[in-house]
Symmetry: C2
Subunit: 274 residues, 2 copies
Amino acid sequence: MPGSAGDRMIRSIRVAACSPEIRVGELRTNLRRAAEAITAAAADGARLIVLPELATSGYVFENREEARSVAMERGDDRWRIIQDALPENTVAVVGYCEDGGADLFNTAAVLTRSGRVGDYRKSHLWGLERTIFTGGDTGGAIVDTAVGRLGVAICYDNEFPEVPRKLALAGAELLALPVNWPAVARPAGEHPPETIQAMAAARSSRLATIIADRSGEERGVEWTAGTTIIDEDGWVAAEPRDGLAITTLTLRKTGDKSLPPHNDLFADRRPDLY
Amino acid sequence: MPGSAGDRMIRSIRVAACSPEIRVGELRTNLRRAAEAITAAAADGARLIVLPELATSGYVFENREEARSVAMERGDDRWRIIQDALPENTVAVVGYCEDGGADLFNTAAVLTRSGRVGDYRKSHLWGLERTIFTGGDTGGAIVDTAVGRLGVAICYDNEFPEVPRKLALAGAELLALPVNWPAVARPAGEHPPETIQAMAAARSSRLATIIADRSGEERGVEWTAGTTIIDEDGWVAAEPRDGLAITTLTLRKTGDKSLPPHNDLFADRRPDLY
């Protein structure tokens, strides 16, 4: 059987990364747009739908008070606006500004129609985020869902190769990656550098990665428009049209990291040496 | 000073990656060609010159006996053929089949005109290499040289993101990466996948990487021709012409991993979480 792609591909899943227009500070509008994006992706068959980092709040806050004004608790009734857009057996990963009491967190909610499966708090804070958010203390998270064992990380987290590696070693079948990538210069013909890092991490650990980025600009920050779905071999499988990237990923058997006929991405590791 | 590229760039070094024609089993011919490649690179000013994995022996051995027939001990007199081609204060990294007594190793020699600075034994073996070589027990190596603190890894080693990360954390200023990459299919317009992994690793740790690959084919194995110099920001700085990739890299101050104004690639790590 090794060497036969047909035998080794045993599962497919339709996934989407959405990049709705988000307006900083306009919580109700953003919740509605998130719900609309989820409705459209679900109508096209997506079972896993990823939205950007801080999708409900926007990113470029004037100050901590503005962030607090659009923060949501996990138990906030308004989550229903998003959850009601989700069909059964469909999972959404949505970045939001989390009201954690004294602290604010840059968090990704993992939601279904009927419940809340998990919340991951960004653990590597970028730029001025430290003036607003408290960092999480897990460095990525594993969330078991109806569509499989998800890894979740947020933006700058994934630029630390330890994070996707750790999640893959913990059994993540897919990585949901909400981001807000400020545009940086790059040579002509190259992917954004963060995309290259995600492609490399995907290939190193056979970990398909669904990236939902912003586009356009917000208060002078130009976004990368890096919304991309990367397959488990590290190649670009889908880029967005009208704010929606969607594709059917074919995944090898869970935990299969073999490289026939002689190698295995995980078994060949030498953890005693690192 | 943070934010001023001019102030933060304090060193430049001219580096080369060479891809001479190599013939499996023809040790004398390969040593001569390695010397010629080094002479040409040095004449163009290179102070660090990297040659491919198993540059003196070829790669696609019929069996272990053939590999042994072209193996060299570290003390072999014929190393002078290569060392005599090196000007003073110039360093070469050359892959060879190491005769280690009972064991053979896939090793990279770090050489100067006057001496031998180090030897690194490949620690992650690919394909049928296990039938020929014994794996090294360091997972990359640090070698202090006249041109700086070098990281050294070989081919498949660098597909484990732990390896370049570990070398960068140990203070490597540059990574010398001899490889023999068998060609694999890739989408149009994409770099070879191993190049993408090296670009990502370089960017994640600000670790310029000098990759010397094979080109052409050997006993039915087509090589990727992936010889490339990657700068410390993860971009392609030079590709080969007539088997020689050469450029002057500008490096930030040793150990400077800052991302002004607020971040730092290393200080922002959360090693307690991985």
